[in-house]
Amino acid sequence: MDMVLVLVLLPIIAALLLGLFPYQRLQYIISGATLALLSIVAFSLYTSLSDFTFHLPHNLNILIIVADVVLLLFFLYQGRKFNNIKVMVLAVAQLLLYGYIESIAPVAGRAEIVVDELSKFMFLIINGVGGVIVLYAVKYMEGESASPFKKRLFVGALLVFLSVMNLIVCANSILLFFFLFEMTTLASYLLIAFRGDEISRENALKALWMNQIGGVVILVGALIAIIGFDTVMFDTLLESSGGVLMLSVALLSMAALVKGASLPFEGWLLGAMVAPTPVSAMLHSATMVKIAPYLILKLSPVLAATMVGGIISLIGALVFVAASYLALSRSVFKEILGYSTVALLGLMMALAAIGTQESIAIAMVLMLFHALSKALLFLSAGVLEKQYHCKNIEEMKGMVNRAPKTVGFILFGFVSLTLPPFGLFMGKLFAITSVASLLNEHPAYLIVLLALIIGSALLVLLYFKVASALLSSASDVVQSETMPISAGFNIPLVVLSFFIVAGAVGYIMMQQNIFVILLAFPMLFVFALPSIIHSMERYDRTLPYQCGEKGSFDSALVYYEPSIKIQRAMYWGFGILFVAVALVGAMS
C-alpha cells in the first residue's frame, strides 16, 4: 500500500519540485530520478504476490465529489466560452446524473482501491513508459516557443497525469473511476490545447465532447448498477449476476470504446496529434488510451462468452481492419501512428472481450509492447519534427542519410511492431492461434480471425510504406550531411529500445518454447548488417537504372484512399454497432 502511495504521490511531488526550481539540469535529475524510482516501485509491485485493498479516507471522498463537480463546471464553462453546444449539453447531463447518483449512492461497503494483478501490470506500463516520456519531454520543451513557466507547467502536468493514471488503474469505485476518467479527459483537453492556436482549440473541444460521452455512459452504467445491485464497486458488480448486469457492463464498455477512440470516435485521437509530441506519446498512444483495453479487461469476467462481449470483440476486430485501412491514406507521420494506435487498441479490446484466459494474457502482452513501441515511435517522430522540421512522410524521404540514428529507432519501432521475436508479433501470432482454437466453439469467431489476419497484413503494409520513405536513398557515394542529435533525445529512445528488447527476451524465456527462441535467429541478420556494410568497399557503385536516362527520380508513396461513400458507410456501420452494444446489453 505504501508503494501505491508512492506511485500516486511521487509524481505530484516531483511536479511541485519542478515548479519550484527552474534549473534545466535539475529538471533532468528530477525527472530521471522519478522515472527510476517509479519503475523500480512498479516492478517490485509487479513481482509482489498478493492483491491488497484499502479504503480512502472519508474526507478525501468528499474532496473528490467537490473536485468532480468543479471539473464538470469547468467543462461547462469551456463549452460556454467557446460556444460549443455539445460540450455544454454533455457537461450538464453529467452534472445532473452525477448529482443524482451521489444522492442515492450506497455508502461504500468495500474498499475503493483494489490493487490486483491487472493494476500491477498497468503500473508497470504507466510508470515505465510514462517516466521515459517525461524525461524526453524536458528536452523536447526546450525548443518550444512558450514561457519557461509554461514549459515547466507542461512537464509538471505530465507528471501529475502519471499519478492520475496510477490511481485510475486501481480504482474500484465506479464513481472514483468516473472522476479520474474525467481527469484524463481534462488532461487531454488541456494538453491538446497547449499550443493555443485555432486548430488546437478545435481539436481539444472535439476530444472534450467525445470523451464526455464516455463520462455519460459511465454514469448511466453506475446508475443502473446502483438501481440493480445497490453498489458502485466494480468487484461487487462483477460478482453479481442476472438482471440489468449486462446493461451496466455494456455501458461501461462503451466508455472504453470511446476512450480507445474506436471508430466512429477516432476523430478525437487524430485531432490530438496537433499537441506536442510528448503529449501524443503519453496520452494518445502509450498510457491514457490504454484505459480502454484496461476497462474491458476488468470487465472481461462478465463479458466473456456473452453477446455483449461478442459484439465488442466484433467492433474491436473491425476497427482493427478499418483503422489500418484508413491509415493507408494518410501522409502525416503522427496521424499514421495515431490510426495504427486506434487499430491496435481495437485488437486489444477484441481480445480482452473474448475473455478466455489465453486471450486476456495476449491482450495484456499487446498492451505492454504496444505502449513501448508506440512511445518509441512517437518520440522519434518528435525528434524528426524538432530537428528536421518534417511531419509529413513525404518530407522524410531519404531521412536515413540525414538522421541515421533516429531512423534506426523508427525502423526498430516498426520491426518491434511487426516482426518476430518481438512482443507484438508474438501477441498477434498467439492471438491467431487462440482465436483459431475458439473457432470450434463458435464459428462467429471466424470474423474476428479474418479481421485479425487482414488487419495484420494491412498494418504491415502501412509500416513498411512509411519505412520505405525513410529508407529511400541515393547512391552510396553521394554524401549527405547529418545533424547531431542531443543526448536528451537519444537517451529516452535508448531506454525504450532496451525495454523492448528486454521485454522480448523476457517474454521468450517465459514461453519456454524452443521454436520461439529460434525465431529470434533471423533477427541476427538484421543486426549483423551494419557490421558487414563496411566490408563492401570493393564493389563498384553505380546509379539506379532509369531507362538509360540521367536525372533524379522523385516519387510519392502509395495512398489507398477509400471513397467517400465507403467511408460514410463505415462510420454509420460503426455508429450502429456502438449503439448496438447498449441495446444488446439491455436485452440480455
Binding site: C547, E549, S555
Partner: protein, 361 residues
C-alpha cells in the same frame, strides 16, 4: 503535399522496341499526366534525301526510315516521283506492289498484336503469334529476297517477278495463316484475362479521334471511317475485295480487332491479287528528271503515310517531305494515357503500334 510518382518509360525499356521516352505522372499507379520525348531516332533523312542522294537512290534510303513498313515508304516515294515524271505503271506492276504492301500489312499487324500481347504479360500468345508470323515472313523472304527490308519497288516498276513457285508458296502460306488468324480471333474474343487487360482500357473516343486527327487502325477502332485505300485512286483496291474495317469502342480490344480483321481482309486481297495477276512487264523505263510538286498518300499499316516531293528537273530533289502515321498519332496517344493505369501503359502503347523511327525520321 505532392502525392505523385514519376514513372519513366524509355528511352530504353524492355517493352519498347524503339527509343521513346515517356514520363508518366502517376497517382499511385494511375496516370494523370504524360510527357513524351519522341526525337531520339532523328537521323536527318529528309535533308539527306535532297543533299546526299540522287532521286533514284532515295527510294532505298526512305525505306530505312522504318523497317516495319519500308515498302510503303518506297512505294509512296516512287509513286510521287513517277507522278512527277508523268509515268503511270501498268497493272501488273500495280498488283505486285499492292501484294507486297498487303503482305507487309499482315506481318506488321501480327507483330503489333504479338507485341501488345507481350506487353500485357501474355508471353504464350506472343510466341504463338510470332510463330504464325513466320509464315508470312517466309513468303516475303521468298518474293523479295529479304525478310524485312524488301527493296522491292523501284522507279518504273518492281525489282523481281512473281514466279509460279512463289505463287504456290504464297497460296499455301496464306491458307495456313488464315486458319491461324481465325483461331486468334476466337482467342482474343474469349480469353478472360485478355478482356480484363484490353476491354475498356486505353479508350480513344470517336470525338477525340476527330479532334486529335487519329488515323489508321487507331481511328477505325474508334469508329472513324478513314482509310487511305478508300480515299485514293492510285490502286484498284475496291476491285480486289477491299472492305473498310470499323469498330466502335476505341479501346485496345477494338484496335486489336481492327488489326485482326484487316489481316483477314488483306489475306483475301492477296489471294485475289495472285489469282488475277495481269500479264505485263515488271519494269519499264521512266525517263526524265522529276520536276514540280507531287503529293502521295498511302495507307501504311499504322495509317496514312504522306509524301510531298518537289523537284526542279535535276538529279537532286528540292524537298522530300515525309509525314508518317505515328507522327500524327502522338497527340491522340498522349490523350489516351491520361487516366489509365500505369500497369496498362505498355499494352496501350503497343496497341498504338508506334514507330518512333518514322516519327523522328
Amino acid at each position: 503535399m505532392k502525392k505523385t510518382i514519376q514513372i519513366p518509360l524509355g528511352s530504353q525499356h524492355i517493352s519498347l522496341l524503339e527509343p521513346i521516352r515517356f514520363k508518366f505522372e502517376c497517382e499511385n499507379e494511375k496516370i494523370i499526366g504524360v510527357d513524351a520525348d519522341v526525337g531520339f531516332v532523328h537521323r536527318g533523312v529528309e535533308l539527306a534525301c535532297t543533299r546526299s542522294f540522287e532521286f533514284k537512290q532515295v527510294g532505298y534510303v526512305v525505306a530505312r526510315v522504318c523497317g516495319l513498313c519500308a515498302i510503303t515508304h518506297s512505294l509512296s516515294y516512287t509513286l510521287a516521283v513517277e507522278k512527277l515524271l508523268g509515268y503511270v505503271a501498268n497493272d501488273r506492276i500495280k498488283y505486285l506492289r499492292m501484294l507486297m504492301v498487303e503482305l507487309d500489312r499482315i506481318h506488321s499487324h501480327m507483330l503489333c498484336l504479338a507485341h501488345t500481347a507481350e506487353n500485357a504479360g501474355f508471353e504464350a500468345l506472343f510466341m504463338q503469334i510470332m510463330g504464325d508470323r513466320e509464315l508470312i515472313m517466309d513468303v516475303q523472304e521468298a518474293i523479295s529476297g529479304n525478310r524485312v527490308q524488301f527493296d522491292y519497288i523501284s522507279i518504273g516498276g518492281v525489282n523481281r517477278d512473281l514466279t509460279p513457285e512463289l505463287v504456290a508458296l504464297t497460296h499455301k502460306n496464306l491458307g495456313l495463316l488464315s486458319e491461324k488468324i481465325d483461331a486468334l480471333i476466337g482467342l482474343f474474343d474469349n480469353n478472360w484475362s485478355l478482356s480484363l487487360k484490353y476491354k475498356g482500357v486505353g479508350v480513344l473516343s470517336l470525338e477525340e479521334a476527330y479532334t486529335y486527327n487519329a488515323l489508321g487502325p487507331l481511328a477505325r477502332a474508334a469508329g472513324l471511317a478513314t482509310d487511305v485505300r478508300a480515299e485514293t485512286s492510285d490502286f484498284p483496291y475496291e476491285a480486289l475485295g477491299y472492305t473498310m474495317i470499323l469498330e466502335s469502342t476505341g479501346d485496345i480490344h477494338a484496335r486489336n480487332f481492327v488489326r485482326l480483321r484487316e489481316i483477314v481482309n488483306s489475306i483475301a486481297m492477296c489471294r485475289n491479287i495472285i489469282e488475277n495477276l495481269p500479264i505485263g512487264e515488271i519494269q519499264e523505263k521512266a525517263k526524265g528528271k522529276p520536276n514540280g510538286e507531287a503529293v502521295v498518300r498511302v495507307e501504311a499499316p499504322r495509317g496514312e503515310l504522306f509524301y510531298l516531293v518537289r523537284g526542279s528537273g535535276q538529279n537532286m530533289l528540292d524537298r522530300v517531305r515525309i509525314k508518317t502515321p505515328t507522327f500524327s498519332a502522338i497527340p491522340a496517344m498522349m490523350e489516351v494515357f491520361k487516366g489509365a493505369e500505369y500497369a496498362d501503359a505498355p499494352a496501350i502503347l503497343a496497341s498504338f503500334d508506334p514507330c518512333m523511327s518514322c516519327t523522328a525520321k
